[in-house]
């Protein structure tokens, strides 16, 4: 069933260490508009990379949207995250075409190299590993996407190399 990323550690989520005033223009833009809930959450996630708890409360207080309704939507859609993510999000495709062309190997190699599991973030908050269903580049399967760049025709070793190079480039 659709309960997105439910392994959220609530402890980190409770901390309000984000600047909530960033939300003001967003709330101003959508307040009172019909169908505004998803765009508000999408906008919030764009600001913080995830949906901080404080943001839920602030939006609810200022727009009158129900907290329960917001939380219901946030956990329904795969896009929304309730915990902070790494600087780079690695999306490994597990669509049909990638599955039959050994996408498993890509995920396993990356899990081993980054020492995290699917859905987790490295301790240094550089990488988050996710699996997704079809990036639309099936002809290049197996595929992964980091940021907006897709990488195709991968092997386990290649995917690890790409990720290592990104880390190197970051350090310089």
């Amino acid at each position: 069933m659709r309960i997105a990323r439910k392994n959220t550690k609530t402890s980190s989520w409770l901390k309000n260490d984000v600047n909530l005033s960033l939300l003001d223009p967003l709330i101003h833009k959508y307040n009172g508009k019909k169908g505004n809930l998803i765009p508000l959450l999408q906008g919030t996630q764009e600001l913080y990379g995830y949906l901080p708890r404080g943001a839920f409360e602030k939006i609810s207080n200022e727009t009158g949207l129900e907290l329960s309704e917001m939380f219901g939507v946030a956990t329904f859609y795969a896009q929304f995250r309730l915990k902070p993510v790494g600087k780079h999000i690695i999306k490994v495709c597990h669509g049909t075409a990638c599955h039959v062309q050994n996408a498993k190997e890509i995920s396993e190699s990356l899990e081993e190299a980054l020492k995290i599991k699917d859905g987790e973030t490295t301790d240094d908050r550089i990488f988050t590993l996710e699996s997704v269903a079809c990036l639309g580049c099936c002809s290049l399967a197996p595929v992964m996407m980091i940021g907006e760049q897709a990488y195709g025709k991968l092997t386990g070793n290649e995917s690890v190399k790409i990720v290592k190079n990104i880390r190197l480039a970051d350090n310089n």
């Binding site: 659709r2 505004n36 049909t96 075409a97 269903a133 079809c134 990036l135 639309g136 099936c138 002809s139």
Partner: protein
Amino acid sequence: MNKTTVTVGLGSCGIAAGAGKTYEKIRVLKESDKLDFELKKTSCVGMCYREPLVEIVDETGTYLYGDVNEDRAMEIIEKHIHQQDPIRDYIVQTDLFDAPENDFNEAQVKIVLRNCGYMDPESIEEYEERGGYKAIIKIRDEKISRMDVIQTILDSGLRGRGGGGFSTGMKWKLANGNKSKEKYVICNADEGDPGAFMDRSVLEGDPHSILEGMIIAAFAIEATEGVIYCRAEYPLAIKRLNIALQQGRGKGYLGKNIFGIEGFDFDIRIKEGAGAFVCGEETALIASVEGLRGMPRKRPPFPAQSGLWRQPTNINNVETFANIPWILINGAGAFASYGTEKSKGTKVFALAGKIRRSGLVEVPMGITIKEIIYKLGGGIKNDKKFKAVQLGGPSGGCIPEYLSDTIVDYDSVTATGAIMGSGGMVVMDETTCMVDVAKFFLDFTRKESCGKCTFCRVGTKRMLEILDRITNSEGQQGDIEKLEDLAYQIKDNSLCGLGQTAPNPVLTTIKYFRDEYEAHIFHKKCPAKVCRPLLTYVVDPEKCTGCLVCLKNCPSNAITGERKKVHFIHQEKCTKCGVCYSKCKFESILLS
């Protein structure tokens, strides 16, 4: 003399293959060498397996170069542009001589893909030069009535390409019949089937044709607002749609009194999906546009009666809309001349999986699956044996090799137990395990079930547990029957298409590959050598070089051996994780 043009294919697939770098390289060379050609961008022509593609048109003819990385780009500029000496080895398609992909377009009829890869998708002028927006202008100039537009679509026999296959004209007629001051046209660009990418390609390659299709639908049903519901995973499509919308507004094609038609007010906005397969279902999609959880609801009332904000709403798929302008320009008869009795026109298929030429093809309805796979798709990769083709994604099924003479039309495909679906065609060879494929799809639908219906929510989970058991070497007598029983219960007791079709991949694989299930359950064997717990890993003494790599990587210390001596896997310790198999550079780990 016409100026030479060099065009780089910059669809998502091209960019993933490195076309962005290729384009940059050519741009830099053009500037530094002060070269006299026009550098253009286009989108995907469907030949994804040869990306990055670069087309050169000069006074001698048209040449399509394939696999053009930066180095090849340099070579091509040097030879073809500087010395006017085309490099034959890199040319994949041309009308001048035999090239490896010349036959790729032969059996194709391009209606939906008429512009994809042939123009710059970010230029409204190029779309208009290629006959774009002529259909709506024709409606205006010839004062064609709403009912006549709908009649044309009815006569064409066009059926929805989103999977349901419902008559588009009929839908429009219903929406037209329900009067209201506010009405909506929605384009379903959620493309949820993991393994289909034709909608993405049209959105990226020909966004204006979608807008024009929607404008014509709006005219026909008197809609006031349009919404394109597009997956967030398609950033490039969204970008190009936004460009197209802006250009359209600039020209008065969107807004008030559009195309100078008095009282025709219509604008379109994009709604980004938030990642839920079920939101492809029309009532769930509407809930999602309203900002709610995307849960389907009961029909009737149908969206044509009560859709977005309880107003009459017409929802069509991307490919459906892309057909509309063509039909109005060329006539219903021209469209209906392609296809079979009950399935008219063409269908775009996304070929993927173990097929040599993976990409997009558009074929007239009625051609056989075999023709698509062998003639267009070039057969199976690495000369492996063709086993089955999966059609219709998570709602569809696997059609085995011996039924590959099945023709593609809605009814013939449905008769096999699969569905036409959106047109994703994932080809599988002897190394694909059908039980594993069934498990894959069920895992997908289980995760994506919205949770409303018990049978869909819990039933898929129970089925998955059985499949997990079977692939984990713990299958039991009676498992197949239990799967079938659950499957029919889920089909009968689910509200929306997701649950009603979720068991299809399991049912079709049981129907056509029962022996494979039995091998897993009774003989504890996976014939395709995919399900690891059913495999035994051994070292091939002929090939092992004694490099110690597997030994060092084995997480359970199950491998012993010395440098330059054949290693040994101790079966009692082996956890069958497969690490040795993927790490060995000499293919010396055997599966049996």
